[in-house]
Subunit: 641 residues, 2 copies
């Protein structure tokens, strides 16, 4: 099999079952590649207009509405809609993010939190890009901690209306996409007050502009220039007793009856709140996927550059290619491997999302839904951190040329930076993951803020987590998987995927058990829950990360196993091995500290990572070509040749 | 002693002996703080004009010319000029970088590479900002590898002129500051050809603009928008047989005689080349210092924000301050400690530079000059990487607010990114450091490209490096320093600075010895020098880094020891301990692998880092206030309150 065939096979594996949709998105993006350069010369206002135009045009192709029911002009395919979004991330990222705001967030809120009356009234216009809207959740005073929002929506039985008000100086909505210029309506998250009683956060549709001017009682400010994404009109919203009909409450999970009573199918207010937020998991899946795509664009540029650029010599004759330097291989190739790993993890996540959201909600167990949310949170965190790191490393690896806007790193870097923050701060998201693991997605999960979690885990720890993760049991389970018995970790083949999986599984369980024990001990010793949590927090986050890393590796190993025998599979198996060993190497101190790596083996793993980088050097360009980012979109003619 | 007094004392320690100059620079910057916001709304062309105006105004204060002789309007104080530059980095960084180009690079080339005729002709105008110029070294095809530049300057005895030509498609000068709009003259680095013979890279003054238009034979292009620093007019220069008088050769180290012969006081062409580059060490010292300042601005914003911002709760009542979260402390406080450490290392470097460049050149030993260059290279690399990392971490720690331009991270991040590349790519700089260490700054140093170095070290290794760094000798030396004899590394007090120093010294020597052995073995086994180098390159770079880390810690420990007893010293001693332990923790895998950390002690060090972060939590705001970045320049009113 020749190289081109290997690249094509791997590209097909990456495109997966949505290859067709991805191809269609590429076909939309390539003719518009010139935009990447043009927007740099536009004023912020013109850039925003340009992005709006492209958004509306793209809506016309049907590619941005794939996740909506067909009766409203959508595609009725959630998985495809995520795949399209991921691919759209190869183009201008302001277009991407505005697309996410309009269709994923604003449209998604109407679809998932609203009922037929809202769908019938708005979805066709949303899908067609005729009604542009905002997702007004975050407030200046409250980003991640949504439960504490200050905006209120008070039911007035006199007029049968909801009165939406910004209460307090920090309660204005902030960073809201589509707010500063284009949004006509907003899904406003507010504390719902009925009959004087507060029922927690609910979403209400509020028109914010009438004929292009702020609606009465609505004040709008511009967030001004940002680090990146300046084609998105982020802004601030204040509501001063803005009245909307009761019917504007997105009432899928809770409603106000005709006689003015609050009712909800979910009794527990915390569970209700988390159920509402849970329907928005799609946003996190989308952002994570977009981050992975951005990392691929950066790696494609830097790797192809390194395979052409010569610098410093052998002393005699031609200078050396950057990619022939060991350090340069070490910088780029493990990042390529990680983009592969995250892609396959994202595939599994997308499938899971598709299945759960395509199914009759009644048939989906609560447990599966929680796992999906946890996985979405964790994958988003790892994927967006990876994007930031990969783009940075690639920029540096291209030297001064990497600093010029003409080579795309400037935009990639500036635009993706906020991916680590929006749709949930990465650190907060990993805490969410840890909470799920520690409480085993217990029914009472929703009741727990992080300090509630401390108390909960401390209370249950002995029986469940501690038991499950006792060192004894752990080793027993691993021992069964690998030859070598008690010394599996020393005798396993260093390139055996089962060994890698065992290492990552061991780490995850051991860390989780440790966290549970520390929480319990802290509380047992009479510690204040806040202090106990604060002291253990880095351990909590490391556990969550270890969990997601294990899922990522499992996805990679499983995907390789599903491939037909041949050179493409052999190549990806090698990439998978590099990814696994690089992860073990990164955390080798932990493995040594916990008796799972001897000094000799730790050094051997580092040597093996170096050896794999050298082995993969000749395939590096193939591997980034298989990412399938069209050359036009790399916008780095001078670098990639 | 109250807190304000402690802050004042520490601030005075940081400002050091140039407190007066630093104060004067602050006084210039504060009234102009509004510029930080204004420039965001300017077109690129207007931003450049604004920066030029500020540069000329500042030149009028004398603060940018401190490094020039007084007879040309300068201050005659090199140390002060670096301190002024470091402080200027609190303001707009385009102003800073254009200042660096004009006075440090262009002016520096005339001062250090030229002779009296150039000084008399140009320096007064340069210092006053009347003659703006470029430092045209980097070519598109050759960034770091200056020796291979393609531009030629050929002596024509017929007309007694130098003919400057861009030879080859990649030989145009690129990324040249002041080139796209304002530069009237350039110090062009070109291969000097006299009598048909090439003499390597020399600098020639070439007028590039006449009355604002490109000079005949000179083509100028704009580098266009960049990731940051868009107030600096970077551009490209092509020379098509541009003729300048022979007198335009900057002839301090080499000249063309009246009868058209080449002559130089330095016979060896490589040594000559490195001597010329060596005079430009000031640029690296300046950039490193500016990076440290930028990290301080970011840390001041994020830390003060974390001490005000509450998010998520205790379940009862008020939410928790971000800075009370263990993870948040872990993110910010070790970075604060590292900014301190690097500041003190920078102080030593600045002093060294000042002494060597203020002395009669004849009296300075070659060896000291090489050590200065090595130290400047290494400190620049560590300082600018630190800046990038700290600014990134601080941005993330401020969430969505950190993404808005109004809170300065956008500019800080985008503007400082290229610090890792210009004045020498950080990776290449660390290789330079390693080369010096491995060859012990041998006289033949200059002859060696990196592969020459491989052969050299392989040849000499047994006698010198290997001997010096044998494990036995190493331990012997350390043992004498610390109680505990052979088990010093296990019995020393975990917070004892002597222990930290011993650990970092051991690592450095051990790594260097390892590199030397691997190089030797590779060559002895008949390996190709390029392959041997490539395989060992990451080890080479790690050694250099270990060396610089040791210097940094030594500087911190020494500075604390010089302070008077009292709470300020106690506080800084604690910060120093955190810095040292965080560095050992970061590399604890290496220390375990090399028998210098037991599993128990490795875990104890991580615990100690956590404990120190908690202990320093209450002083964190004081520590960043002592950085002395005026509030107006933090431009983050909303975050810092």
């Amino acid at each position: 099999m020749d190289t081109a065939a290997v690249v094509a096979e791997i590209a097909a594996v990456l495109d997966g079952r949505h290859a067709d949709i991805r191809g269609r998105v590429r076909d939309e993006l390539v003719p518009r590649a010139g935009m990447l350069a043009e927007v740099e010369e536009l004023s912020r206002a013109d850039y925003r207009e340009r992005v709006r135009e492209v958004l509306v045009e793209t809506a016309g192709t049907g590619l941005t509405g794939l996740g909506f029911p067909t009766e409203y002009g959508g595609g009725g395919d959630i998985g495809a809609s995520i795949a399209a979004f991921e691919t759209l991330a190869m183009g201008d990222l302001s277009v991407l993010v505005k697309t996410g705001v309009q269709f994923g967030l604003f449209g998604g809120a109407i679809l998932h939190l609203g009922t037929k009356r809202h769908h019938d009234a708005y979805l066709s216009d949303v899908v067609a890009g005729r009604l542009l809207g905002c997702f007004a959740m975050t407030e200046h005073g409250h980003g991640s901690n949504v439960a504490e929002l200050g905006t209120t929506a008070t039911y007035d039985p006199e007029t049968d209306e909801l009165v939406v008000t910004t209460s307090g100086p920090d309660a204005y909505k902030d960073y809201i996409g589509n707010a500063a210029a284009h949004g006509q309506m907003a899904a406003v998250f507010a504390n719902l007050v009925v009959g004087g009683e507060s029922h927690g956060v609910h979403a209400v549709l509020v028109p914010i502009r009438v004929d292009g001017s702020p609606a009465p009682g609505v004040r709008i400010a511009d967030d001004g220039p940002k680090m990146g994404l300046n084609g998105v009109d982020n802004g601030r919203l204040w509501f001063d007793e803005v009245r909307v009909p009761r019917a504007n409450l997105l009432n899928r999970f809770a409603d106000i009856t005709d006689d003015g009573r609050y009712e909800s199918s979910i009794e527990n207010p915390n569970r209700r709140f988390f159920t509402m937020l849970g329907t928005l998991v799609q946003g996190r899946v989308s952002v994570g996927g977009a981050g992975i795509t951005a990392s691929k664009a950066a790696l494609a540029i830097a790797t192809r550059y390194a395979a052409r650029r010569r610098q410093f010599g052998t002393g005699e004759g031609e200078e050396m290619l950057l990619l022939d330097y060991g350090q340069h291989q070490r910088r780029l190739i493990p990042l390529i491997a990680r983009s592969y790993a995250l892609s396959f993890a994202q595939d599994e996540l997308r499938e899971q999302l598709h299945e759960i959201f395509s199914a009759d909600p009644e048939t989906v167990e609560e447990h599966r839904r929680r796992e999906l949310e946890s996985r979405a949170a964790g994958t988003k965190a790892l994927a967006t951190w990876h994007a930031t790191r990969a783009i940075q490393e690639c920029r540096e690896a291209c030297g001064g040329a990497g600093y010029l806007a003409e080579n795309r790193f400037a935009a990639l870097k500036a635009d993706t930076d906020v991916f680590m923050t929006f749709e949930g701060d990465n650190t907060v998201l990993l805490q969410l993951v840890a909470k799920g693991l520690l409480t085993d997605y217990a029914g009472s999960f929703e009741d727990l803020d992080q300090l509630g979690m401390v108390r909960f885990v401390a209370g249950m720890a002995v029986d469940t987590v501690l038991e499950r993760t006792s060192a004894h049991k752990l080793l027993e389970r691993v021992r069964d998987l690998l030859p070598g018995g008690d010394s599996w970790d020393q005798e396993a083949e260093i390139r055996d995927p089962e060994y890698h999986l065992a290492m990552l599984r061991f780490r995850e369980e051991h860390m989780l058990g440790g966290v549970a024990r520390r929480l319990k001990r802290g509380v047992d010793n009479g510690g204040d829950a806040a202090e106990v949590f604060s002291a253990v927090q880095d351990h909590v986050i490391a556990s969550a990360r270890a969990h997601v890393e294990r899922l990522v590796l499992e996805a990679f190993v499983a995907r390789v196993e599903k491939m037909a025998e041949g050179p493409a599979r052999e190549l990806l198996a090698q990439v998978c091995t590099l990814h696994a060993l690089a992860e073990i190497e990164r955390d080798r101190a932990w493995f040594m500290e916990h008796g799972r790596l001897t000094i000799q083996r730790s050094k051997a793993i580092s040597r093996e990572v170096g050896a794999l980088c050298r082995e993969l050097r000749t395939s590096a360009v193939d591997l980034v070509n298989a990412f399938g980012v069209p050359d036009e979109l790399l916008r780095a003619e001078d670098l990639i040749g």
